[in-house]
């Protein structure tokens, strides 16, 4: 069942690689700003791409790269981590399958994010062979990302739809602004985790698509031609979307790591052995805890 999706995804990707026979980049649409008589213009994204890439993307990534950890450092010093009792029972929350898929996704993120940032700041690293190798690692680790993100999308989907708890959770910023152990409104996954899930899966699919477009460059998509969108404008759009989403991915990845490793002491163990502390579930996922109680599972 799960492997079916993986195979479909791999086939889709490989067809992209081999489908490109004749160049679409260097065809009639090559120069999309010199229009022949009666020809419709494309999106004219060249100037937007140039302005964004030359002026905005690097500072924005720098901002995320240093700003997000700075905010968390402040949070850690002012409010500090949540510590839950390790004496009570443990609740089994993640199956082995969940954990393996999560681990593959984790490895792919650890490869994708630094290599992506190295490409963005290529001049700092002197360009050349080192950055070229990073570019290839970025591409290869996408395969790991695909094999993890497809099953992840389906295995957690049913818990990820928006719920009234999520709005309440957002109103109190998940209870992270103080150390009171008041029950936080959240089901099996809280609003923060849900946001990360949707960004990593749906956003992830967009990252894969736009990234593959830029990597293979000459992918023929007939839907573009029939909508008067030139291949170069499609590539420009891909670059803009890939970088903008990339900003969000880096920011939320940092948040995710901070939560698991620092903000909630010991939280990372649930993704290693599958168990969460009972008190942690009771406070941070109070609706889920109530459900378990009703079912008599705790």
């Amino acid at each position: 069942m799960k492997s079916k999706y993986i195979i479909i995804a791999l086939l889709a990707l490989s067809s992209l690689a081999f489908g490109a026979s004749e160049s679409v980049v260097w065809s009639d649409n090559l120069i999309d700003n010199i229009l022949g008589y009666d020809k419709k213009g494309s999106l004219h994204l060249g100037q937007y791409f140039t302005i964004l890439q030359s002026t905005y993307f690097k500072p924005l990534f720098l901002g995320v790269l240093f700003g997000v950890p700075a905010v968390f450092l402040l949070h850690y010093m002012v409010i500090g981590p949540m510590i839950f009792s390790h004496d009570r029972k443990k609740i089994y929350v993640f199956t082995l399958f969940h954990r393996v898929i999560h681990a593959i996704a984790g490895v792919s993120f650890i490869l994708l994010i630094p290599t992506g940032l190295i490409m963005m700041f290529a001049s700092t690293f002197g360009g050349g062979e080192f950055v070229r190798v990073c570019k290839e690692i970025h591409a290869i680790s996408t395969l790991l990302f695909i094999v993890s993100i497809v099953p992840m999308f389906f295995m957690w989907l049913r818990w990820m739809f928006i719920h009234l708890d999520d709005i309440k959770w957002l109103m109190i910023v998940g209870g992270y602004l103080n150390k009171d152990k008041k029950p936080v409104p959240a089901g099996r996954f809280n609003a923060g985790q849900k946001t990360w899930y949707w960004l990593a899966t749906l956003g992830g699919f967009i990252m894969i698509g736009t990234g593959a477009a830029m990597y293979f460059q000459d992918i023929r998509l007939d839907i573009l031609a029939s909508n008067h969108i030139s291949q170069i404008d499609f590539l420009r759009a891909s670059a803009i979307v890939h970088n903008a989403l990339g900003l969000a991915v880096v920011a939320l990845f940092f948040t995710h790591v901070y939560m698991a490793v620092f903000a909630i002491k010991g939280a990372i163990h649930s993704m290693i052995d599958g168990h969460k502390e009972e008190e942690e579930v009771e406070i941070l996922h109070s609706s889920y805890y109530r459900e378990l109680k009703e079912k008599g599972e705790v």
Binding site: W26, T50, Q53, V131, K135, I232
Partner: protein, 202 residues
């Protein structure tokens, strides 16, 4: 050439006959791999009477070169005479320069298996690259360096109708202005004879 010369191309669409000689000459002179066309001839409004014209297009060596602004490796450099060049040893083949370029100039040869693209190649205005001038390495990586030898870029040099002009931008515009002003002038209605050759007086 004036002191602050900026070298530019101009293709006179009233003269270009779409012979593709420029792109063939370029590819041959620089021994470009198949599939790489530093110069291309495009035909606009094809088949529409009175509106059809052809143009030869390559890197236009832009004044505020957008390619240079977006390159993440900062591998571009703009010579004092305005020629936009880049360092292939730094380039990572990300194609951002292609996305920024208004003229579709940057090219990417496929690099080995899977059709993965290699580092960028584009028109150098026949001025080589950052390697030692006229060295074997420069020639291998960037093609001929004709500018250093005082020669005109090969595409413009061989253009049979002299549609493709290259040189100091001020001079190019002078030539073009003269061409426009002299349209229809000097049209001969009589065959050349003694009077044309020696004048009427003996």
């Amino acid at each position: 050439m004036s002191e602050n010369a900026r070298l530019k191309f101009y293709c006179d669409e009233h003269r270009c006959i779409s012979c593709d000689g420029c792109s063939v000459a370029c590819a041959e002179a620089h021994e470009l791999p198949a599939g790489i066309n530093r110069r291309k001839v495009i035909t606009m409004n094809e088949g529409i009477l009175g509106l059809e014209y052809s143009l030869s297009i390559a890197c236009m060596h832009c004044t505020d070169a957008p390619c240079e602004q977006v390159c993440p490796t900062d591998c571009f450099y703009i010579r004092e005479d305005g020629i936009v060049l880049h360092d292939k040893e730094k380039c990572i083949g990300c194609a951002y320069c292609l996305y920024a370029c208004p003229f579709g100039a940057p090219q990417f040869p496929s690099d080995g298996a899977f059709g993965i693209k290699g580092v960028m190649d584009k028109c150098t205005m026949c001025a080589g690259g950052p390697e030692e001038t006229n060295s074997h390495k420069e020639r291998e990586m960037y093609g001929q360096n004709r500018i250093s030898e005082g020669k005109v870029p090969v595409c413009a040099a061989m253009c049979s109708t002299k549609a493709l002009l290259v040189g100091d931008s001020a001079e190019i515009s002078d030539i073009y202005r003269e061409r426009v002003l002299s349209v229809g002038h000097g049209v001969k209605t009589q065959p050349y004879g003694w009077s044309t050759a020696y004048g009427s007086k003996i």
